[in-house]
Symmetry: C2
Subunit: 191 residues, 2 copies
DNA sequence: TCTGTGGTTTACCAATCAGTACAAGAAGGC
DNA sequence: GCCTTCTTGTACTGATTGGTAAACCACAGA
């Protein structure tokens, strides 16, 4: 039979895009089959656990990508301020100015949250921690760095929501610019 | 037959809770039937358009609630600064410190966005406008008020995402406190 | 060339999906 | 009392759901 010679890792990006577009519940096996060009047999060959394993694998890949391109640079950069600025650029590109949904955020709001609770919590916790650490090294007091990091990571998620709802990508850019400015300016956190 | 004497408006809050918990795709008629105690016959009697009409009616009710309790007070309050502070309190209670999902935001991230695009855009646009207007009357320059309003409304949505993902309601409270402080302090927007 | 393994197709399953049809009961007007 | 209108339960549709089973083929190593 026609061998697609597809590897598991090859279909993950396609899979990710389907889940992003349709959510966990909205993603049916027939949609997946259409998007990947793989029949049900092949899909269950790669992912014996079915839809749940597919979503889990996608989440793991996203997590790995952010670890390599966002979290670790924040933690290990020689110049933390530059790393923070780079994070905003990387994230804006990744989310395509809000046109692309954050799957982790979307799952957090959805029914599937409980199913992946550990992974979702871990992703955001590590993001907040890495950002707070970078800002701390950049000169922010520890307390304000932690609060600012939470506000920034949450703000990015909210920017995706708002830009998508309003259908105005420039809103995403504008919010991120504001957040970046506040993360880089060293002033005491207003109380 | 046992008349439940239910009015359409009586089942809307129950319906809203089901959609919030399971999302649009994840909400099945059997779930709705269980949550409302109404059989399919009754449901299609009240909502001939099926699930889509139900979700539309829920969105309209939510929109009306926010118009009455959030948007209009912001626009018409004698003391705009107090109104802004009141908004944060109202919203925190409504979203139960992030334990309750914003259905409008969740739909914006979901597959059903296109179906309700107009309503979603309208809801957020009016929120941002009303908040910006209030902050303008409170003394913020028009430009910074508009940007701050976008950041605040987006920030609230992001706070829901983050608090749910981390399973830490205090994160929601903390972010909202920070946003409120920034909306009330009159300082030039950092650039 | 034979054979085992990894990948694929196809057919199938029971369950559930949204939606329809309709008969039947309950309530209010007369 | 009856009759109409509104509301409900039940039964049904055809399509789709996630998932299984097994026959089947391609290819690499021996």
């Amino acid at each position: 039979m026609a061998r697609t010679v597809a590897e598991r890792s090859d279909v993950l990006p396609l899979l990710a895009e389907v889940f992003r577009e349709h959510g966990y519940e909205g993603t049916s096996l027939s949609l997946i089959s259409k998007a990947t060009g793989l029949g049900k047999g092949s899909l269950y060959h790669f992912f014996p656990g079915g839809k749940e394993e597919m979503a889990g694998a996608v989440l793991a890949e996203i997590d790995g990508w952010f670890e390599a391109h966002v979290f670790r640079p924040l933690r290990e950069a020689d110049d933390p301020a530059t790393a923070v600025a780079a994070m905003f650029a990387t994230v804006a590109e990744y989310f395509r100015s809000g046109r692309r949904v954050c799957l982790v955020g979307a799952l957090s709001l959805s029914d599937a949250r409980d199913r992946f609770a550990g992974r979702l919590r871990d992703y955001f916790a590590r993001w907040v921690e890495a950002l707070a650490a970078a800002m701390g090294r950049a000169g922010h007091p520890a307390a304000s760095a932690a609060m600012l990091a939470e506000e920034a990571v949450g703000g990015i998620q909210g920017a995706v929501v708002l830009a998508r709802a309003l259908d105005r990508p420039e809103v995403f850019e504008r919010i991120l610019a504001g957040l970046r400015a506040r993360c880089l300016i060293l002033e005491p956190y207003p109380t």
